[in-house]
């Protein structure tokens, strides 16, 4: 288990006073104190980790956010931000001595601006809610994490969320064009807007994906796109995972960027087929779903091209959707893969590394070999187009030691991702889950530089401590310069 910072006893002792003070800022039901009600906030979607928060505060206005943060800063109180609590990495895991700041009441869409193809929304609006709000205008918001019914745009900004359409349409960071946020000191800062790019340092670019460590977002402006006129999908079966991986590389190498490109392995195929009966072939080792979107002239042209590539790479089955209903059926199994795996195992843990696509075959082979070492099975479902793996490690938390074995297995998988040139997380974030693996990817200097950025935003380290970075560093130490008194050296360099 990953250890969180020791709670501060003095803060715990002051709990009643803190609750009273927060009630003066956010009246009525906006401050949640009872243990029973706090229980609802004790974890996010990384359910293996649970902790009752000190108190939950649910502000409704930017003004209240400012006052809550000023209060916390003045009293040296830690703050854990939370959207819908769908983080898979424990980004919203409470701390016993921290105020949990829920943004769920910021639910309004503030402006729909079709002429400038953008929507201004409060952070508690759901991801899907944005697309629904502009559906009638023929527009949609492109990033579509699988939790899109529930997850909020504010949480998407914090986690830089992805989805199946990232390869073609980008992650959250490529689709958010402006934010208003509040610093821990209570300063309200606007970055970007409806215009392209921004002057000065791209602080919007670092705020997106900062996992609640830099500020509290109170308003988001996103780019919305015209809805593609149509889409068709191909369901392609391969006798080997290597064949499927090679086919993915060949499709991209041929200049085709599909709207979505997903692979499932045998265990995931079987689980999904048993659950939703999507008509998946059961005699293949890997199933590839390729979706092409756009106008019919383009989609039909590219479907034929991808089909030819698939056959050349040894596909044993290849079906193109002939109707919208059939396309949705092809996806039904993939979209239900996680719950389907939940039916065949009491618990599962979802990993999220990204690897170079060419390594797909070899990494999956090594993962199979690791199953033996850890005595656990793994089902694989992943965004093949961008090499983003989602190995699902099956375990039973009621069997003593299995959770630990599953975590160890997960860590081995993520180390393998880094070893082959990939990264620890493609879209779920570091949070608590991958925090202690950061040193597999970054050395001390790399991590210190990232933490110095944190110091520029939150010098006292009060925002979401214990997440992302394996060690809490003091900004005063990080800021110290060790300069040797020296002379200008470099005698060997040519000069003019």
């Amino acid at each position: 288990m990953i250890l969180m910072p020791e709670p501060d006893a003095a803060t715990l002792a002051r709990r009643a006073e803190i609750v009273a003070d927060l009630r003066a800022i956010v009246p009525g039901e906006g401050v949640i104190e009872s243990e029973q009600e706090r229980r609802a906030y004790e974890c996010d979607a990384l359910t293996a980790y649970r902790q009752l928060p000190l108190v939950v505060v649910l502000p409704e206005t930017t003004r209240q956010v400012v006052e809550v943060l000023r209060y916390c800063q003045a009293r040296t109180l830690k703050v854990v931000p939370r959207g819908a609590g769908t983080s898979l990495s424990g980004g919203a895991l409470p701390l016993a001595d921290a105020v949990l700041l829920g943004m769920g009441k910021f639910k309004r869409i503030l402006e729909i601006d079709a002429a400038n193809r953008c929507v201004v929304a409060q952070p508690g609006v759901t991801n899907l809610g944005i697309s629904q709000a502009v559906q009638g205008l023929g527009l949609y918001y492109a990033p579509d994490p699988s939790s899109q019914i529930a997850c909020t745009i504010g949480g998407n900004v914090a986690e830089n969320s992805g989805g199946v359409h990232c390869l073609k349409y980008g992650l959250t960071t490529n689709n958010v064009i402006g934010v208003e946020f509040v610093t821990i000191e209570g300063e309200v800062i606007r970055l970007g807007g409806k215009h392209f790019d921004a002057g000065g340092y791209d602080l919007l670019g670092v705020l997106v994906g900062s996992e609640g460590l830099l500020g509290i977002v109170t308003e988001v402006t996103v780019r919305v796109l015209p809805t593609p006129p149509g889409a068709r999908a191909l369901l392609i079966g391969f006798p080997t995972m290597q064949g499927a991986g090679d086919c993915v590389a060949a499709v991209i190498g041929a200049g085709v960027i599909p709207g979505g490109m997903e692979i499932m392995d045998r265990l995931a195929i079987e689980a999904a087929e048993a659950f939703v009966h999507a008509g998946y072939p059961l005699d293949v080792e890997a199933l590839l779903i390729v979706e092409l979107d756009g106008c019919a002239a383009e989609v039909d042209h590219l479907i034929a091209r991808v089909e030819a590539i698939a056959r050349a790479y040894g596909a044993t089955t290849c079906r193109a959707s002939q109707s919208e209903a059939e396309r949705l059926l092809f996806w039904a199994g993939r979209k239900a893969a996680f719950p389907a795996v939940g039916r065949i195992s009491p618990d599962y843990m979802c990993m999220d590394g990204t690897i170079p696509r060419k390594e797909i075959g070899s990494v999956l082979l090594r993962m199979k070999q690791m199953e033996e070492k850890h005595g656990l099975r793994v089902a694989n479902v992943f965004h093949a187009g961008d090499g983003n793996l989602h190995p699902l490690i099956l375990f039973d938390a009621n069997i003593s030691g299995e959770l630990q074995r599953a975590e160890d297995f997960g860590h081995d998988i993520l180390r393998l991702c880094v070893e082959v040139g990939g990264v620890l997380t493609g879209e779920h974030g570091v949070g608590v889950e991958k925090r202690d693996l950061m040193d597999a990817m970054f050395n001390e200097v790399d991590l210190a530089q990232q933490q110095r950025l944190k110091c520029a935003f939150d010098a006292s380290g009060l925002l979401n401590p214990g997440k992302v970075f394996p060690q809490l560093c003091r900004c005063a130490e990080l800021g110290r310069m060790h300069v040797h008194a020296g002379r200008l050296r470099f005698p060997d360099l040519p000069r003019f």
């Binding site: 490529n174 392209f196 340092y201 200049g255 493609g426 530089q449």
Partner: protein, 414 residues
């Protein structure tokens, strides 16, 4: 003043550590082609990164390219073209735009032997994007990871070498557009994309500015994936195209798709003339290189990024305030190039008129072409509000605590 030409990141780290001990400041460049972009730098020494050049790794099927920062942009483009790929953000060179300005008389001695070639590190440091930015995103959107030396002389890395990554803070975004004021890049990794098979451009003729902004928004709101959206008013169109005002809409992709989409859009506007293949490519190169405002002689050039729908009103307000104002639009109005006669613009280069008009339109404005003395005296970049300025200054201090790198280049807390 010395000119340093380190061979690798180790020598850079050592040099920075040495400079920190003095402390002595550095002006950092490679091709030095963007030296006239931004505020002039007054530094103790010059650091030429030219020896850190070359593509390190490129695999087309991975859509990822890693290169040394001083690799010429031309080399990168050529390597990608051989595999049917490209930099989707279409970086311009601005060679002619930046060369036209009067040579500075009050600058330190020009370094000799630099190439004046745009480099990949320079493009990223300036976050330079061309016409396709409206659809594909900016340079920052394709910047996946890097290695660099900070102001403490420490070599560090951030981001990754795969297309999808959220591990740690996204420092690549921060380095993009930081004009070398935060760290010295030693290696960069970019996401690359397939080149479209074909392109065609539809021209709508004779629209006024407001009509063109409206037409461009309509085109962008179709699902036909328009990848270039520009308007050249009659007064400037002649430098690039014949026959007066032109609103240009570019379509790219497989030929059956381009043919269909071009037909649909032409029908929507009741007909359009077409530029195919090289003629289309040349038009968009000219737009990216701002040729509709060249040669501008004694003119100053501003680059405005307003809310796209406000662009025509913005230009009308500027024309009312300054009779010499000439402008054209890219990014569907999201980018306005403006030239002003230097004499009419006055000592502030038109900054007060431009910034006051921008406050109504929303967005930001940058003075691109102006004599060095003017770029030193006025805010070249949009001045940030106080809280943002203070935050930017803290960010700078946490990368380059002694202010060694490109002092003064950005202003505004940077």
């Amino acid at each position: 003043m010395a000119l340093y030409r380190p061979a690798d990141e180790k020598e850079i780290a050592e040099l920075v550590a040495t400079c920190a001990a003095q402390p002595e400041t550095l002006e950092i460049f490679a091709g030095a082609s963007k030296r006239a972009f931004g505020r002039p730098v007054a530094a103790d020494h010059q650091l030429d990164l030219s020896r850190l050049a070359g593509v390190i790794a490129y695999e087309a099927a991975e859509l990822v390219l890693t290169a040394r920062p001083a690799t010429p942009l031309q080399t990168i483009k050529q390597v990608l073209r051989e595999q049917g790929q490209m930099l989707a953000f279409e970086p311009p060179s601005w060679r002619d735009l930046l060369q036209t300005q009067a040579q500075p008389t009050d600058s330190p001695a020009q370094p000799t032997g630099y190439s004046a070639q745009p480099t990949v590190g320079g493009v990223l440091s300036c976050n330079l994007s061309g016409p396709r930015r409206v659809r594909a995103g900016a340079a920052r959107d394709f910047f996946l990871g890097f290695s660099a030396v900070n102001g403490r002389g420490e070599l560090f890395k951030a981001g990754g070498k795969v297309v999808k990554n959220v591990t740690g803070f996204d420092l690549s975004k921060l380095l993009a557009g930081s004009f070398g004021t935060l760290a010295i890049l030693t290696e960069v990794t970019l996401k690359v994309m397939p080149r479209p098979e074909t392109e065609t451009t539809l021209l709508l003729r004779g629209l006024d500015d407001a009509g063109a902004i409206d037409a461009m928004a309509r085109a962008l709101n179709t699902p036909f994936e328009v990848s270039g959206v520009a308007h050249l008013p009659a007064a400037v169109a002649g430098r690039v195209l014949e026959d007066g005002a032109a609103t240009a809409l570019r379509l790219e992709g497989p030929s059956p798709s381009v043919a269909f989409r071009a037909g649909e859009i032409a029908r929507m506007f009741g007909g359009a003339t077409r530029l195919d293949g090289e003629a289309s490519a040349r038009l968009w190169r000219d737009i990216g290189e701002v040729r509709a405002l060249l040669p501008q002689g004694a003119a100053l050039v501003w680059r405005l990024c307003p809310t796209p729908g406000e662009a025509a009103a913005l230009v009308a307000a500027l024309r009312a305030a300054l009779s010499s104002a000439e402008a054209f639009y890219d990014w569907g109005g999201g980018l306005v190039w403006l030239s002003l006669d230097a004499e009419e613009a006055g000592v502030d280069g038109g900054a007060s008129a431009v910034r006051s008009a921008m406050r109504t339109a929303g967005g930001h404005a940058t003075l691109i072409v102006a004599p060095e003395s003017m770029r030193a005296a006025v805010d070249v970049f949009e001045p940030p509000p106080p809280a943002l300025r203070a935050l930017s200054a803290r960010v700078k201090a946490n990368f380059d605590p002694l202010g060694l790198f490109n002092p003064g280049r950005m202003g505004g807390g940077a």
